[in-house]
């Protein structure tokens, strides 16, 4: 079981503040993010990556295998690059072909296994996989940058630094599947392995190896090496849509553990009574880096660009004043408290900054972010107790007026065509009778209204009145997992799925959020992360990467 780190509840920001969609949609990656913790583990073991297979045509089509020993096991990334006609290239889940496909394999594949993966991986959802296949992924080229980089290398030049900075990746993944999808290994088969215990660790390892493959592929086609400082800034892009959003609702234990770890980390650094000079300097250095990072973060979406520009302006004022707080007692607590009137974007950037310099104080929290057992429900025996508990923990839901059509205008569903989550308009689209159960607030209110005046056992109530099982389950979880519930109406017209996506992606370690609508976003992963030959050179200083052209 995970080590349990008892927080000091009074020092934590309450769920009523933290678990709101708009704040979750303002989060930045931290040193607790899964890519960061994975890199530290890889670096601690001084992992070496080899490339036993490189069967690639001159124009970059073929297959490759990368292998590494990690935590007492050997893993291999099988990468397959195919010639994709431009008209078939789309990041949407409805795509049926991609520029490249990947499998993270348990061990080193022999020729027969390599042929099996080569036949199946490019088919993705239409393929079939085994328990030796741990992660399945695919990626499309950033055609613009990939072509530019390879053409420059072929001409004996390095690529244009402005293009490297503005795009930031050679390929972007459009899915990274784990945990049993399409026959690959269930998560629990590898969940106890050293290095892969953390949430999404196998997926993050896959992404990091894919990033390396994209560098190798560009150098192969270009016929010359890329400068390391350019490669370091070339991460892996990712397009993420609605498919990711329901996870946070259907995994309340994980959501709780992630948020609790982050809030506990913040509480710990706020409790530091006095900063040493080197710590003060580090905070100031990172605040400056945040300014530079924001300056390099531009997106095409007008509204989001405006939001970034406001954050830049606000942060400039914040950065200028940070030094005033650092000589005080409990400096970081005072500094964080001074943010209370600032925007949520500023506040959450400050949270991320304050955690960053204090690895010795917070990194152990990464061990608490998994869910090794499953939900441990509290038993609620009678309906009077249940009513009190609902009033105590779900008052936020009771405040929503579900008689107003706008408060349940949207509905989540699974599409027949792709069996993927979608979001529809209840009043304009068919299918709401098949709604997916993400309407937790509405179900809680419905349960509350259905509770009998006369006390009875919850078991009897469940038998007599159907349709409230999920709401009762959530109520049984909330006492133990107080950060496990998004405290907003997920079917209201005001629900923006992009907020859920950003929260989850920030825990992955994503940066440079580039929303394309309120339902999908592009991001960059591994930007600034160590290259495969750099794990022994200090692998942990890449929070909010900045490109030094």
């Amino acid at each position: 079981m995970n080590a349990f780190v008892a927080p000091t509840p009074a020092s934590l920001r309450p769920p009523s503040q933290v678990m709101r969609l708009s704040r979750m949609g303002s989060m930045f990656p931290t040193r607790l993010s899964f890519l960061r913790s994975l890199m530290r583990r890889l670096a601690a073991e001084k992992v070496k990556v080899t490339r036993p297979v490189w069967e690639m045509s001159d124009d970059g089509f073929g297959r490759a295998v990368y292998s590494l020993d990690f935590g007492g096991h050997t893993y291999s990334l099988v990468a397959i690059s195919t010639d994709l006609p431009p008209e078939m290239r789309t990041d949407r889940v409805i795509a049926e072909a991609w520029d490249s496909a990947y499998v993270l394999y348990d061990g080193v594949p022999d020729a027969a296994e390599l042929d099996r993966i080569t036949a199946n991986a490019p088919r993705q959802e239409a393929g079939r996989f085994t328990e030796r296949d741990l992660v399945l992924s695919r990626a499309n080229k950033s055609v613009r940058l990939f072509a530019h980089v390879t053409e420059r290398l072929q001409a004996g030049q390095q690529p244009d630094t402005d293009m490297i900075r503005s795009v930031g990746y050679l390929m972007r993944t459009t899915a990274v599947y784990g945990n049993g999808k399409f026959g690959i290994a269930d998560r629990r088969l590898i969940a106890d392995r050293p290095g892969l215990e953390g949430p999404f660790a196998a997926e993050m390892l896959t992404v990091w190896l894919i990033r390396n493959f994209t560098h190798d592929l560009a150098e192969h086609v270009g016929g010359a090496p890329l400068d390391d400082h350019l490669k370091r800034h070339l991460g892996v892009g990712n397009s993420t849509g609605l498919g990711m959003a329901p996870f946070l609702v259907t995994h309340p234990v994980l959501l709780n553990n992630w948020m609790l770890a982050r809030e506990t980390a913040l509480a710990r650094v706020r409790a530091i009574p006095v900063l040493q000079p080197v710590q003060k300097a580090r905070v100031l250095e990172l605040a400056k880096r945040a300014t530079q990072h924001l300056a390099q973060w531009d997106v095409p979406d007008v509204d989001h660009q405006r939001r970034i520009e406001k954050l830049r302006a606000d942060w400039a004022g914040v950065e200028a004043s940070i030094g005033l707080y650092l000589n005080q007692t409990y400096p970081l607590d005072t500094l964080m408290a001074s943010m209370s009137q600032r925007s949520e974007d500023v506040q959450e950037l400050m949270v991320s900054l304050l955690i960053e310099p204090f690895g010795d104080l917070v990194d152990d929290l990464c061990e608490t972010m998994g869910d090794t057992i499953g939900p441990l429900s509290s038993v609620i025996k009678d309906t009077d107790t249940l009513r009190v508990l609902l009033e105590q923990y779900f008052s936020w839901a009771m405040e929503i007026d579900f008689s107003a059509p706008a408060e349940h205008q949207q509905f989540w569903y699974v599409s027949e065509a792709k069996q993927e989550p979608r979001l529809g308009d209840r009043y304009l689209e068919p299918g709401s009778e098949l709604e997916s159960p993400l309407d937790i607030a509405r179900r809680i209110v419905s349960l509350y209204k259905a509770l009998p005046l006369q006390n009875q056992s919850v078991v009897e109530f469940s038998r007599d009145v159907s349709g409230h099982g999920l709401a009762i389950e959530r109520a049984q979880l909330v006492m133990r997992y107080q950060y496990g519930e998004i405290q907003d109406n997920l079917v209201g017209v005001g629900c923006l799925p992009i907020d859920m996506l950003r929260c989850k992606l920030s825990f992955f370690g994503a940066s440079k959020f580039d929303p394309k609508s309120d339902r999908w976003t592009r991001i960059t992963l591994c930007q600034g992360a160590p290259l495969i030959g750099e794990l022994d050179k200090g692998a942990d200083d890449w929070w909010l990467p900045v490109f030094q052209g």
Binding site: V93, S142, R188, G374, S415, Q419, R519
Partner: protein, 160 residues
Amino acid sequence: MNGYSFTEVEGVLTKAARGSGAGVAHAAKFAKAAALALASDEGADLVNAALADLPNGVIRDHAIWLQRDLADAGEGTVMFPIGDALWVGYIDSLPYKSVETPTGKIAVYMDVFAKPVRPPRVFISDKNMAKWQVLAAKTYVPETEQSRLGGAGAGLTDND
């Protein structure tokens, strides 16, 4: 028989149960138990019978019985009768240590957390998987032009 991941089987059976009329919570509990039960010879027959009985039958009753006995026990040890593979699957899905006793019962120690033990593969006949996928499909919403364009929110091409 084809091998499937536990997650795949749990997923299709959750939807199959919902598509057959089970509530969300009951469907999820059933799917966990059923995926374990499928390791036994009688498992598939029990699963099919349970799905056929919906919206009544063991998918509803087992969840309620389990809840009742756990509520009565508090944090002590609960003694459950040994039943068929599906019932045992319900008990083995709990996050607590459980052992068979010499008196023919299953003791569940609610103060000892334990991970449910699951096989690496679940083997299912094509006929049964096809049957469950048909039931699961009752929870899917057919595509319309509007949902295709806007449901996932993305644009049509991404060639930059």
